[in-house]
Assembly symmetry: C2
Amino acid sequence: MSNIEKGTRPVPPTLKDIQEAAHRIKDFAIRTPLMENQELNEIVGGRLIFKPEVLQRTASFKFRGACNRLLQLSPEQKRAGVVAFSSGNHALATSAVARILGIPATIIMPADAPQAKVKGARANGAKVILYDRQKDDREAIGAEIANRTGATMVPPYDDPYVIAGQGTVGLEIMEDLSAMGVEADSLIAACSGGGLIAGLATAVRAKSERTQVYAVEPQGFDELARSLASGKRERNAPEAKSICDALQVVTPGELTFDINHRLLAGSLVVSDDEVRKAMRVAYDRLKLVLEPGGAVGLAAVLEQRIQTRDRTTVIVLSGGNVDPELYAEILTAQ
Amino acid sequence: MSNIEKGTRPVPPTLKDIQEAAHRIKDFAIRTPLMENQELNEIVGGRLIFKPEVLQRTASFKFRGACNRLLQLSPEQKRAGVVAFSSGNHALATSAVARILGIPATIIMPADAPQAKVKGARANGAKVILYDRQKDDREAIGAEIANRTGATMVPPYDDPYVIAGQGTVGLEIMEDLSAMGVEADSLIAACSGGGLIAGLATAVRAKSERTQVYAVEPQGFDELARSLASGKRERNAPEAKSICDALQVVTPGELTFDINHRLLAGSLVVSDDEVRKAMRVAYDRLKLVLEPGGAVGLAAVLEQRIQTRDRTTVIVLSGGNVDPELYAEILTAQ
């Protein structure tokens, strides 16, 4: 019996849970490669290794967690459907997995979510309900639907199976680094609710004493950085704004903060302009389309928020769903 | 002794030459992965497997051929330097390899080449000479420099070592398909001078009886399609224009046409608008930045120029060096 199933209160997933998730999702998710770019290595004076989750199905790591979660449902639960709230990538992922498994899906998204994400969820056959990010309580809307229809809520991050699914990113990184004979000094990835970074940290710290795991957050949504400093879950200002639509939560998840507080070396903070620059660098050098939230790790490295000189740093490029109008504007700005 | 070295007249490379090239360049070039996208598979009703050479160093397959060629130079030849003429990707590749190996490089480029390509060659330390595509003879300019300085000409396609280098794309595809237990029905890739497709066809036809190899060309630059039909090297109209800056030659190479005439199943032709659409699809679905010339294979498949329903088709995405202004314009058109 896995650690997850021991009690009713959610407990952090273990390496074994992540390994089981990897086995469970392997016929559905893509095992993304590691990538390297000599010119970027020269720029930072160290070795950068990228894990491009933009090449994952639905163009973000979120597919992994949603897949691991939905594959746990009983036949009865599958028939009753699923409900998810999400700023976008979890919506795309949940609706795509639901479509593959033949599960009816309702997705609750902010009205100002990128059109690419809203259209994508609808194209996957999901019923999309839009809410006002300032006025409405998305969790309450989700809970009401779940209560009324018997559908299962698929949380975006605060769920052991979701965290274990995202943790497969870290498992693959550690396996591939090991095959290359490389031990990384640091691994960095974007953080919003904290599911990705919690899963990554669980896998990485179980496999390496040396590798330090850092979250990265956009200015105004640095709840984790402040929570790590104070030791309790801090909240972001309601009026905060960022170009990183995928990284906007009010406060860290309960389960994810429990994990991240124990395992992370820190959380780095980058500005919107630094994110724009990183998106242009990814366009120029890596030929990968990154959304703002998917570029924060690269931004942190380019801005030298951690030491990369003479070090090996792994950077998760976590998502690539950006509306073409915004992308065009960022590419041609200066 | 390899086939290439048997006489003074250039002879087509063999599978063994390509295998030797793969061994020679393996510490420099990236072994790009194969990629698949379920949604695109559903759209065409078959299986599409992509070989993203945009993830190669200098963002095109050209790095392979230039690398294999420059690694053949003697110490004296390296000191005397190299000269290459190129619309862009061969310039980037040759200048990058020359920089790695410490060889002085002069690159002759059309004055209307994309700025990204001109700047890239200069950033690699090459001396760049611009010429007028309508008035000047780039081969004569190159020959004059080579004669005067003793530098070695690095031809963009009509050279057995260059063709063998590009053929490593095909070798990797066949090895990876074999590991997946897949035999492709068709393989398609862009054609300009014909070095990539000649190398691919050599590797693929040596490994599979079944896999048909198709070139793809832009309208106005369909010299290979017409040459295959007539059996002799046809010329494009001097006034022809295409968005595909990388795919504009006057006539097929002599050595490459000798190979392509024997080994290709045909050459498909796509319009500029079809190329623009394919670039948008790659942005939306694959999250890869393709330049126009790198998108012709995807365009041919999306426009059903060959049967893909119930078939397995491999598509080489050959290059990703496109100026941001043009890319932004293509993404936001409509």
